[in-house]
Every structure is written in C-alpha cells, then in structure tokens.
Point group: C2
Chain length 341, copies 2
DNA sequence: CTGAAAGCGCTTACAG
DNA sequence: CTGAAAGCGCTTACAG
C-alpha cells in the first residue's frame, strides 16, 4: 500500500502497458487479452489502485450518483424506502445523495442544479408537495426525464412514478371492516392537498358507496398523518352523537394517536370502536392493542424506484420502460379491529 | 436558458474575458475588479451557467462530499441525526452521501474506498459495531484523520467522536428515580458489546452504588434496544420474586416494549412499576402512558459531527480542534414514572 | 489486441 | 487585475 493513492499511470508502468490498456482491462475486460488482464490486475493489486471517480465522472459525463429528495429528513417513514433505493443503486455502482426539500429550498439552491452541475445523474423525489414554481422549473428543464417520483407524486402525470396501491388498499380496508360486520365506518384523512390523502379519501368514499353504507360528512375527519392529528380526530369522534363503529385512518400514526386519546378518555379499542391504520410501520405490531393496518412494502417501493430510474438513465433515450409502477399492499389483521358489539 | 449546459468557456466568451478570470470572479470575487465581477455575473445569468462539480472536484482534488455510514438504513433513530449533519454540510457546500455498513460489507467494497476513489472527503460513522478487521483497516489508512464517529464510537479512542452524555444521563435518570422514592431500581441494557450499552450499564451500576441502593444481578436484564427485547425483559421482570419498583431502560424502544408486555399481562404503569427510557424519540410523548425519558439532542449531535469533521478537513493538518464533543442530555418527566406505592 | 493522443471542464501558479 | 498554459486522472475514438 502506498501512502499516496496511485493512478492509472502508476498501474500502467507496473504492468508495462499503456494507460489505455489498463483502463480497458478494468472497464471492458473482454477487450484485452487474457495475459494482459492478469498482468493488469496484479499491478492493480500491488499498487492499491482505485479509480478516481471525479476523473472518470468528468470524462464520461456521468455523476454515477442519484439524489434522493425527502420532504423531511427527520421523518422515519422514509428510512425503509431509502434502504431499498440504496440497495439497488449500490448494486449498479451508484452512490446515493440525500437532501431535504426544506433544506434545498432554504439554501436558495435550485433542485435542477444537482443535475445541471453534474452532481447527480437523476433524482428520486419522495415529496408530492413541492411548490408549483419548483415543479414548473422541473418540467421545463431538459433533464426532466431524469426525475422520478416515489411514494408520492404530483397531480399532472408528467413524471414517472412508483407508488403503493393506495386506492385498492383503501377499498380493501373498508371491505374488511364491512366483512367483519361494521356498517358505520369513518375515516381520518391525511393533510389537505396531499395526493395520498386524496387517493385514499376518494377511494374510501367510493367503496362506502359501493357497499351502500351510511354516509355522513362528519364521519370523514380531516387529519394530517401525524400522531397529534390522530388525537384531535379521536376528540372529534367522541363528540359525535352518532358515532361510526369503525374508523379507517389514513396512516398508522393517525391511528395510534387516535387510540391513545381514546384510551386517555376511557374508551376501549376494539370493544368500543375498531381502529385501523395504513402503512404498517414497525411499531404497529407492538402497539396496544396491536394495530390492524394496510401494509406498504416500502423496501420494494424503494428498490423499484431505483431500478426504474436507472433503467431510464442507462437506456438510450426513450426506452419504453413503464411510466408508473404500483406496489401491492396487504391487509395485516391485528387486535385493534373486531366485530362491532 | 440553453438546452446544453454551458461551460466556463461560454461564460468567458459572453463576458469577453478569459476563463481564468471567470473562475476567479466566481470563486474569489475580491481578486477581480468590480466591473469584471459585474460583467461575469451577468454572463453567468444569461448563459445559465453552473459549475461542473466533477471538473472542479478533479482539479481541486476534493470531492466536496461526506459519506455518512449507518449500521442500518431502516432504523428511524438516525433520521434526526442525519438532518443535523445534512444541515451543516449543505451550508458549507458539501453533499451528503449515505451508505449502510451492511450494504457496504455485502457488496465487498472497502470502506476506505470512498475516500480513496475521491467519492468523499471524509466520513461520519454512526456505527460503533464495525468488525475489528474494518476498524484495523481504517486506522492504518493514511486517511484516518478524515473519519469521525458520531453517536456511537469504538473503544480505542483513536478517532474523534461526538456523543451524548450517556454516563451523566444515566446517573441523572437513576437519581431521579431515587429522588421520587424508589429504592429498588432495575435496568434493561442494550445489546452485548455495544459501547452505548456499556457506558449506560456501567454508569447505572456506579450510581446505584453511590446511592447505596440494593444491587441484584437479576435486576440487570440484558436487552438490545428493540421493542421485542423490551417485551422479553418485561417477562423476566414479571418472573422475579423480588421485583424492582422502577426500571431504567437503555432505550425508549425497550421501555415501550416493556410497557406493552406489562399491559398485556395486566400490570399498570406507573402504578405497579415505574418505567423510563433513553433517547426521547418522537413517539415517547404519545405513548400510553407518556414515557419519561432522557432526551438526546440528535439534531445537535448531527450538526456538531458535521461541523467537527469539516473543521478537520479544511484546516491545515493538525489544527487543534477538539477530539471529542459531548452533547448534553435532558430529563423529560412524563407519566410512566411515579413514586412507588 | 494495443498505444498515442485528445479532451472532459475546471483552477491556479506564473508572468505580465 | 488579467491571460495563456498546464494539468487534475481518466476514457475513447482512431489508427495500426
């Protein structure tokens, strides 16, 4: 091992060939002879050579890295998605860059700068709530094909995306509650304006209609995915004269907040009301009572997002890869739901 | 805006100066005249110029990015730390690269490769559990000054680190339980071999000794920071003939698992036993009962780690920056602890 | 299968 | 204060 990292030149000298040959032996092994390949790899070992990525990136005009943009780095919901993304990126030799919408915005940077300045080849956006101005700039950018949305998306279906089965999952949740005997079913929604909130809420209403169940506007309680909103929603539920016997919450955090507040007010779940969530976060299983939920496969969602983006980046122009992938969700039945009394 | 990103050359042509001057106007504005500066910045605007990072990185021999290494990307405990790191990195124009120990290991990559191949200037390691072989390779590497541990660390104090007040926090926790009247205090530990586990456990034992409280080996229950381990620990506690009246858990997840299991077995917290955790994760406040905990300022921890690393990277060689920073913890008293009955 | 040479887009001594 | 020129470490037509 040398203390100064060695270059292609060093390897070439040791191997007694040109730098071109070393480069080929490393990147396109089948373009050189067997014996050359061996001498080069020996020389690489001896000198402890590592390719200099900055040089390679400059020469090949690729960054070999992808930016993942989160609405909020502090939100643990994304960690499994990141793991999936990272897994597939590293398999293909790409690095994963992380930034949060808020920080990028605060720093005055433009999002497309990451693409423009050769820091990243593409980006995966996990935030459907980008301000219109940013979206407009992304659309008009010549690099718009290097952008993919995951988990969330934006209304105009201009960018490819990967998402969970929000609508089917919601309908399956309602049907499940119906199947175990509930006829009065409420819903706590996500934040106003959010695409997931909208998908789940509209699917909820449709399924309630399809099952010809009672509909009351006050049974749809506005929330925002958070624990705190779940607590407030529980208070709203308690204050109702005519209460639903089951409540489908748009997220597990909502459901947990809802149950917490109920328990504080001496209501029992599922005896007094069945509560279920969406996501199946790690904690759902450990909650008291264990939470019935609609499981999102966040790891697979991340893996798929990375795979789709790389396919688009590496394929020559308009390779007919799919525009949207939908990841199946699955119903996980636990103790927070039961037949109405 | 052009469809092809423009280069320094383009800007120079528009501004009617040399590329050297454009470069200076951008990087060292006070090295050029006022009027030149203005013409250049106008030309930059017109051409939509963005510096090409790969070229700059190659030329300056810096990656302008830092690798953050996590034991497990799926673990939400780290998200706030990441946010802190990212905040300070982006302020200084650095990008944040993320990888997990497991993935790096699985892919057969060596950790130092990130430094060797010019992908990152330095790294922040959030995993004190690296295998000895990897640690040895890090130590012997010429780039060992570009590595910093955060949150966790490794026993031999060779690398600079940022950590929370694990020992003081633990002692303060025990003292608090003592202050409200407990004389029989137990502890659920983190995973065997973990540095945090060791720091907290040994501080626990010391403080129990200092307060001259009862000591029973079976009151120290082995765990591993997880919810599941907390459940098991509760079973162990239930099985004891002589039970502690308060239990200090080495993590909030442990405490939550402990309480969940107790509640399943019809024990009441804090009536039957006081339980407290360590970390003060978001959920602690919403738990039933709300969890008393020792709060770690994970955001500050991350910010400090980034600041220390950058200082070392940017300062000429052995700038006398501190070797270890310790982030204060604070006691958050909630409903899961009370005076013994 | 291999080598000489050009060039990716910057920054920075060096000279003026 | 400014410009011409070298060079960071690679990869890849091009020619043989």
């Amino acid at each position: 091992m040398m203390s100064k990292t060695s270059t292609l030149q060093d390897v070439a000298r040791v191997a007694g060939v040109s730098t071109a040959t070393v480069s080929r032996a490393l990147s396109h092994p089948n373009m050189v002879s067997e014996s050359t390949r061996r001498r080069v790899s020996k020389a690489v070992e001896v000198s402890g050579y590592r390719v200099n990525r900055a040089a390679r990136n400059l020469r090949t005009q690729r960054a070999h890295s992808v930016l993942v943009l989160l609405p909020d780095l502090g939100n643990p919901f994304f960690s499994a998605i990141l793991e999936g993304i990272s897994l597939n990126l590293s398999r293909k030799g790409y690095s994963m860059l992380i930034a949060s919408t808020k920080q990028v915005h605060d720093s005055g940077e433009r999002l497309v700068d990451y693409l423009d300045d050769a820091r990243a080849d593409g980006m995966i956006i996990l935030d459907g709530g980008l301000v219109a101005e940013v979206i407009a700039s992304l659309k008009s950018a010549p690099q718009s094909k290097r952008i993919l949305f995951a988990c969330e998306w934006i209304e105009e279906d201009e960018f490819p995306s990967v998402r969970s089965e929000n609508r089917r999952g919601t309908k399956a949740a309602v049907r499940y509650l119906h199947d175990i005997g509930h006829r009065k079913i409420g819903h706590v929604t996500g934040p106003e304006g959010n695409v997931l909130m909208h998908a789940r809420k509209s699917a909820f209403i449709e399924e309630i209609g399809a099952l010809q169940l009672e509909q009351h506007p006050e049974w749809i309680i506005p929330g925002d995915f958070s624990l705190a909103a779940g607590c407030l929603a529980a208070q709203t539920w308690i204050a109702l004269e005519n209460r639903p016997t089951a409540v489908f919450c748009a997220s597990d955090q909502l459901a947990m907040g809802f149950i917490s507040e109920l328990s504080r007010r001496n209501f029992k779940v599922p005896d007094d009301v069945s509560i279920m969530g969406f996501d199946d976060i790690d904690l759902a299983e450990q909650f008291i009572p264990p939470l019935t939920s609609m499981r999102q496969d966040r790891l697979l969602l991340g893996e798929t997002a990375a795979a789709m983006l790389l396919e688009r980046l590496e394929s020559p122009e308009g390779a007919g890869s799919e525009h949207a992938a939908v990841i199946p969700v699955s119903l996980i039945i636990r103790g927070s739901t039961a037949a109405p009394r």
